[in-house]
Structure formats: C-alpha cells, structure tokens
C-alpha cells in the first residue's frame, strides 16, 4: 500500500491552513477503508517530521513543556482541549523518548493534529518548502505502510 494523490492533497490543504479546503479534500477520503490507514500514516509522519525539525537541536523536556504551554496559551478553547501531559508525551515520543501506547488512538490523532497545526504555523513554510516537506513525509508514510 502507498499514499495516494488524494491523501497527499488532503494533507497539503490541512498544512496550508485552509480549514474549508481541508474539509473539502477530506470529504473525498473514505474513512472506513484504506484511506483511513494511509492518511493516518501520513499525518503521523508529518507530526514526527515537524516535531523533529522544531526540537532537533534542543531536546530537553522543559523546552517541550514550555512549547505545549505556549500552544495552550493561544486560546481558552485550546487550553481546555489540549491535555498538556499527553501533548508533551506525544512530542517526546516523536523525539524518541518514551511511549504513548496508553493514549487511545482518537485522542492521540486529535492531539497530533492540534500540535501539527501549531508547529506548521510557527514554521510558516513557503509553497516550495511545503512541497519539500510533503514529499518527505509522503516518503516516510510509504515506508511506514510497507
């Protein structure tokens, strides 16, 4: 199984920040079938890549704590919706520290999306950089899917 063009286009719409574009693209995916697995792998790869770019040179737990606090400080909705401890653990896991096996899949996916949104906003990639990012995470997802 490999990642499809529709899945990549959906991720691009999400990372480019267009909520409506992302929703429209996402409607094209079949949640029950292979799209779910492949798109999940694509998001996981994007999260891992974005986290590693952000924390590559400064992997200390307090920097992760500070980062999650900054993300949660942006709005009351985010503050209440993002569980800080789980968010910190997901970031640390992406950096190779610890495991989040006890966090259920739905919570994990939701938190990764919320954190990925913040990470991409901060990275503010131009179109070419975004293409390069997506090409890289697509390759990673294809590798994950075997």
């Amino acid at each position: 199984m490999t990642v499809s063009d529709t899945q990549v286009a959906t991720l691009r719409a999400f990372l480019a920040g267009g909520e409506s574009g992302h929703n429209a693209q996402r409607a094209l995916l079949d949640r029950q079938a292979a799209d779910s697995l492949a798109y999940g792998a694509l998001l996981a790869a994007a999260f891992s890549e974005a986290v590693n770019r952000r924390f590559a040179t400064q992997t200390t737990s307090w920097r992760v704590v500070k980062y999650v606090a900054d993300v949660r400080s942006r709005s009351t909705r985010t503050a209440n919706a993002v569980n800080p401890r789980k968010a910190e653990r997901l970031i640390l896991e992406a950096l190779g520290e610890g495991t989040t096996a006890d966090i259920d899949g739905k919570t994990s996916s939701w938190l990764k999306l919320a954190l990925l949104t913040a990470l991409m906003e901060e990275a503010s990639l131009d179109s070419a950089q975004l293409d390069e990012f997506i090409a890289r995470v697509t390759k990673m997802a294809d590798h994950l899917l075997g």
Binding site: W62, K66, V68, R72, T76, P84, R85, E88
Partner: protein, 153 residues
C-alpha cells in the same frame, strides 16, 4: 485549635529551602495533633501566595505559563507534577475548580510544590517571608476558629 509556632517553623524551613532543618522540625510534628493546623497554615500560605502572584492577572494564559515554568525545574517535576491539577489548584483560589479523579495526597502534594514555586518567584527576604507567614498564620487561625464553633464561645 490554633496554628502553633512549630507548625509555622516547619513551613518556614520548607519554604526557605533549609532541607535538613525542615526534616528535623517536621519529625517533631505529631501526625494526628498537628495535621489540621499544619494543613491549614500551608493552605492559607498557598492562597496568599497565589493571590500575590495572580491578583492582577489570573487569566488561563498566566496560570498555564506559571505552571509550565514551575514544572520545568527538572525532569522529575516535569513527570510528577500534573499540569492540569496544578492549574486547577491556582484557579480554585479565584473561582471553584473541580478536583474529581485526584487523590487528596496528589492535591496536597501539588499545592505544596506550587507554594514553594510561588515563594521562590516572590524572592522574599527573611523579613518578607516572616511577614508572609504571619499573615498566613492569621488567616489559618481565622479558618480554624470558624471551623471549631467551641473555640469562639
């Protein structure tokens, strides 16, 4: 029932960072007889300290940032201190918060951790710390008096 000198001394040693003195004085506390007074003065100190730090701005953002900074002291505090509980404890001084799912031990331990962080941030001089503790003691005594109707008769 009123707060005793020993109870205040134990709290002072804890907040001033004198670990050996704190351990020595704490060993003198009677687990049963001192529990209420010590718990009350620690709670009063926490409320005073939170009020000093957050009276002007107890927005969610200010509380989140403070807790993150306090937890970031070392890897142990990052792992041991639950940020959601810590934030709720601070917010509870200004408006009711829920502590469902947390044990009394977790709540008390996190409150003491936050108290130390708040006092550290306040950077009190010896004199300021004494004033702070005297105010906390007075508040705790008032709470104890209200709690024990026979005391007021």
């Amino acid at each position: 029932v009123a707060v005793t000198d020993l109870q205040v001394s134990v709290l002072r040693a804890y907040l001033a960072g004198g670990w050996e003195l704190y351990q020595m004085l704490r060993a003198k506390l009677n687990r049963e007889a001192d529990r209420k007074g010590y718990g009350m003065v620690a709670m009063a100190a926490f409320c005073e300290a939170v009020d000093r730090q957050f009276a002007k701005d107890h927005s969610q953002e200010a509380i989140i940032q403070f807790v993150a900074l306090a937890r970031s002291r070392n890897d142990d505090t990052v792992q041991e201190i639950d940020p959601v509980l810590a934030e709720r404890l601070i917010l509870d001084v200004f408006e009711d918060s829920s502590f469902d799912g947390y044990s009394r031990q977790e709540t008390a331990g996190t409150r003491l951790f936050l108290l130390a962080a708040l006092v550290s941030k306040a950077a009190f001089s010896d004199r300021d710390l004494n004033t702070f503790l005297a105010k906390s003691r007075k508040l705790a005594d008032r709470w104890l008096e209200q709690d024990d109707p026979a005391e007021g008769q």
